[in-house]
Homo-oligomer: 537 residues x 2
């Protein structure tokens, strides 16, 4: 909250400050409008080389550059400094909530094992690999030398990928639901993982003596499970509230919506207040609220809240890129470390390969033949590892936390990586995905023949797969998958009747196999579509 | 924007701060939820002695008091200090925009002359009367003595009335449309007037030599007209944009809504950036956008934006009262000036009487017999002069601007006045209005016989009223009224066809007289009703 009006005894100064705020916010709104309009025009002309996020970043960079050249007043500039606190408290929550809220539960849960593997184990691997490589690079005098823990901090913050751009292109071009679920789920959970890892490493650094590796893992799991429980708990509470409060009558719509939109934020702040991870918490609140609470709302409110969260998150997303671009153009950077930047880019490419192909191998071990993740999907997943606002915000925090030169180096490198990946990968994703033949409207992609059987049928079939030739490891992996199936039954038989007003008529599952051939491709208007309950997928 | 994370080299400190923010915001959300639920329960039990605003203020006061007693950490407390900048930049704009947006143009414009008289001339009179009385009180040693200009500053800030509570009670009980339009219009425009007056006085104080009374008036008019033009200009621009951009197709709804919700804020910040009054500007943008831009939206977006602005402004309104209550409980007050508080309350009662009954007399001079404002309405208007957040925020600014004791005295007095009026007047408005027989569902109120003829018919009839016995002053006042009529024709013949897609089928006006007997009372769900275009009133 603003602390920009110190106790001055000069009304003109006060008025000037308010004027500066006005100009600053005015500029921001103009850039937002410009981004939306530009993004719309580019999309309408099917120009995929400059996605909306890249366009926003560019607009921010350009306006920031102009402001730099034209010596804009400091009082206006302060409105553009990227405040990590503002990002974490106000911009991030709606984006992450919308991720959970717009998540299609079926493909997500049917790929749950793979998603968790990629995002938890994979991000862990990527962070360690990046950290170790950067440390070795330092030892070998290839690049600026950082202490090992700081290398790991850099490794974890730079492993947070950004879903916005890639997913929007997937939606434009139409994509396989499973690939979409993988990319989506990975990038969402991965943020939560990266931020937890970063915080853990940062704690390790400050009490470097007392903690060992085991404690770090415990602490991490504690945070993750605690946050998830908090999020799910808040979600269930909201479901019960809306089930029994009887607010779904016409003239209470405003009250209903007010309460509904407060819950996600409540979940985020509850977790933060308990020193847990707000982003993990709000993500699960989003999933639970969409699955249970949402169906207890009146129809009008359902329409409204979907559009509301979509709107808020679009604004926040676009704003984040503009804000970042502007800040990059304005901040001091220590460009002396070009070597550091170059090698970091190389290392994150390697680390992401280790993550995706390593975890892909593991997942495929556990999956039956017709469900293997094809190499093209793995490549697409590897390629879609843009770095965005999360990495940027964490790097900005590291400037505050680490001794002078170190934080600055990490920040500059992260900045460069963000700009390069958003502009290059963002611009080329369309081409790349088309080259891999995983997108487009044609049906003759390189999918396995049983691949269309996405949801229950896959799960049902899965039970009879346990052949005696399996290794113990495989069996464990498969049991993990089975838990997803039993969750699905638990959901239908107990959770849904308990938390929602639909008693027993929850038949969307049964319809899926009938129309899945028509639904397999993600339609253009998926996210903007009002009437899409997001379940009959 | 937050500047609460200074460059600390301690990750734990950083995490602690984020935790404090989490706890602070969590508390705020819980109070919001509590207010909404409590307000709903009270309303359902038709308990009008504690309206929602008073309940919110009380909740804030209680929680603030508890936080004070329990020695809550400073890092959490900072989240509750009322920052006037936060109020003016983020909480106020949605509230004022919603006022303009939900305004029923017909009764507003048919009472336009009266509203402007009450809010511009009346507020001016009230400010001067309060200021002079406070100054005289000081001279006569009745109360703390302030310099004359500061008395006028106090007079203008304390003349800003708050519409929220009274209007919500009017809506609950059902009220005459003309009285509603008067109270509504007066309290909305009056805020703009009071803030402009306050700023002008504050400028006069800092360059006390160079300016005379005439210049003050000029400067005030400049601000007012400039802001109004800016607001109307932005509104018309948005109307043209939405008319020609072709965004009203289904899958562009999100883009349409994003752009729509950015315009009001753009208008506010444009005016602030130009050193004009954002609140006047956004009010007129609201009126214009509802009247023209709104009808260029797709039906879904129309529904959405109505609900969106209603939601945002409800949240902001409720939050303002909580925030104010909490801050009042936490701030230091110089309670030594009980005399000042007592006499100020007496003086503002007198000043508001001067405003309402004086202007009421003037307005009745100009109105034909069947349109006179009855005494009961004038009394209701006089009684509904709650002081709320606007007065509070300006008083907080005065603490920064004025030398120590003075600002503090003004602030304490304002705080006391806000609490007293919100709790006392808010709680008794229902009883009072019923005693005056201006509310309730019965139709036998003390209205003049021609009084139902609210809209066009009145206007049309009005032309033939100019009897030769009128004084020159009366004629002038009537001409002012006629301009409202010619505006109505200008609107129908030129503005509406030019700015909206309705070409010529703008027939809502013609239907009004047929069903006005059913529509005369404001229905319970007026503000929450989706399908209410707000024109067929």
């Amino acid at each position: 909250m603003p602390e920009i009006s110190p106790a001055i005894h000069d009304p003109q100064g006060q008025e000037k400050q308010q004027q500066a705020a006005g100009v600053g916010i005015l500029l921001q709104i103009m850039m937002l409008v410009l981004s939306f309009v530009l993004g719309h025009v580019l999309r309408r002309h099917k120009f995929y080389y400059l996605p909306e996020a890249s366009a926003s970043l560019l607009i921010g960079l350009i306006v920031g550059g102009l402001a730099n050249v034209s010596n804009t007043e400091t009082s206006i500039r302060t409105w553009f400094n990227f405040h990590d606190e503002f990002f974490f408290l106000f911009l991030l929550p709606p984006i992450i909530f919308q991720s959970g809220f717009s998540l299609q539960p079926k493909p997500f849960f049917s790929n749950f094992g793979a998603i968790v593997t990629f995002s938890v184990l994979g991000t862990f691997v990527a962070s360690i690999v990046t950290g170790v490589l950067v440390y070795l690079g330092g030892v070998m005098f290839l690049m600026y030398r950082l202490p090992f823990v700081e290398c790991l901090m850099f490794g974890s913050l730079i492993s947070a990928t950004d879903p916005v751009t890639v997913l929007s292109i997937f939606q434009e071009l139409g994509s396989d639901v499973n690939l979409y679920a993988l990319v989506f789920g990975e990038s969402v959970l991965n943020d939560a993982m990266a931020i937890s890892l970063y915080r853990t490493m940062s704690l390790v650094r400050s009490h470097s003596a007392g903690q060992n590796f085991f404690m770090v893992i415990i602490r991490f799991l504690e945070t993750f499970v605690g946050s998830m429980s908090a999020g799910v708990g808040v979600g269930f509470t909201s479901a019960l509230l809306f089930k029994y409060a009887g607010l779904d009558v016409d003239n209470l719509q405003n009250l209903e919506c007010c309460l509904f939109v407060l819950f996600p934020y409540f979940s985020y702040m509850l977790a933060e207040g308990l020193s847990l991870s707000g982003i993990v918490s709000i993500l699960f609140t989003g999933i639970v609220m969409k699955h249970y609470t949402y169906s207890n709302l009146s129809t009008n409110s359902q329409r409204f809240v979907s559009a509301f969260f979509h709107l808020i998150s679009s604004l926040a997303e676009t704003f984040v890129f503009i804000y970042m671009g502007f800040d990059i153009a304005m901040e001091k950077h220590s460009w002396s470390h070009v070597g550091f930047i170059f090698f970091s880019i190389l290392f994150i490419v390697i680390a992401r390969a280790a993550n995706v192909f390593g975890c892909g191998y593991l997942v495929n071990l556990a999956r039956p033949a017709h469900r293997k993740i094809p190499m093209t999907h793995q490549k697409a997943l590897w390629y879609s590892g843009l770095r965005g606002a999360m990495a940027f915000a964490l790097a900005l925090q590291s400037v505050h936390e680490l001794p002078d030169g170190h934080g600055q180096t990490i920040f500059t490198a992260t900045t460069a990586i963000v700009v390069v990946t958003v502009l290059l990968i963002g611009g080329s994703t369309g081409t790349m995905l088309e080259a891999l033949e995983v997108v487009g409207d044609s049906r003759d992609t390189s999918l396995g023949d049983g691949f269309e059987v996405v949801n229950n049928r896959y799960m049902t079939r899965f039970d009879d797969e346990g052949s005696p030739s399996e290794s113990g490891f495989r069996t464990k992996l498969r049991e993990f998958h089975k838990s997803a199936k039993s969750f699905s039954e638990l959901d239908r038989n107990y959770l849904t009747p308990f938390f929602t007003s639909n008693n027993g008529d929850y038949d969307e599952d049964d319809d899926i196999n009938n129309d899945q051939h028509h639904e397999e491709r993600i339609p253009f208007t998926r996210r903007g579509n009002f009437n899409n309950r997001g379940l009959n997928f």
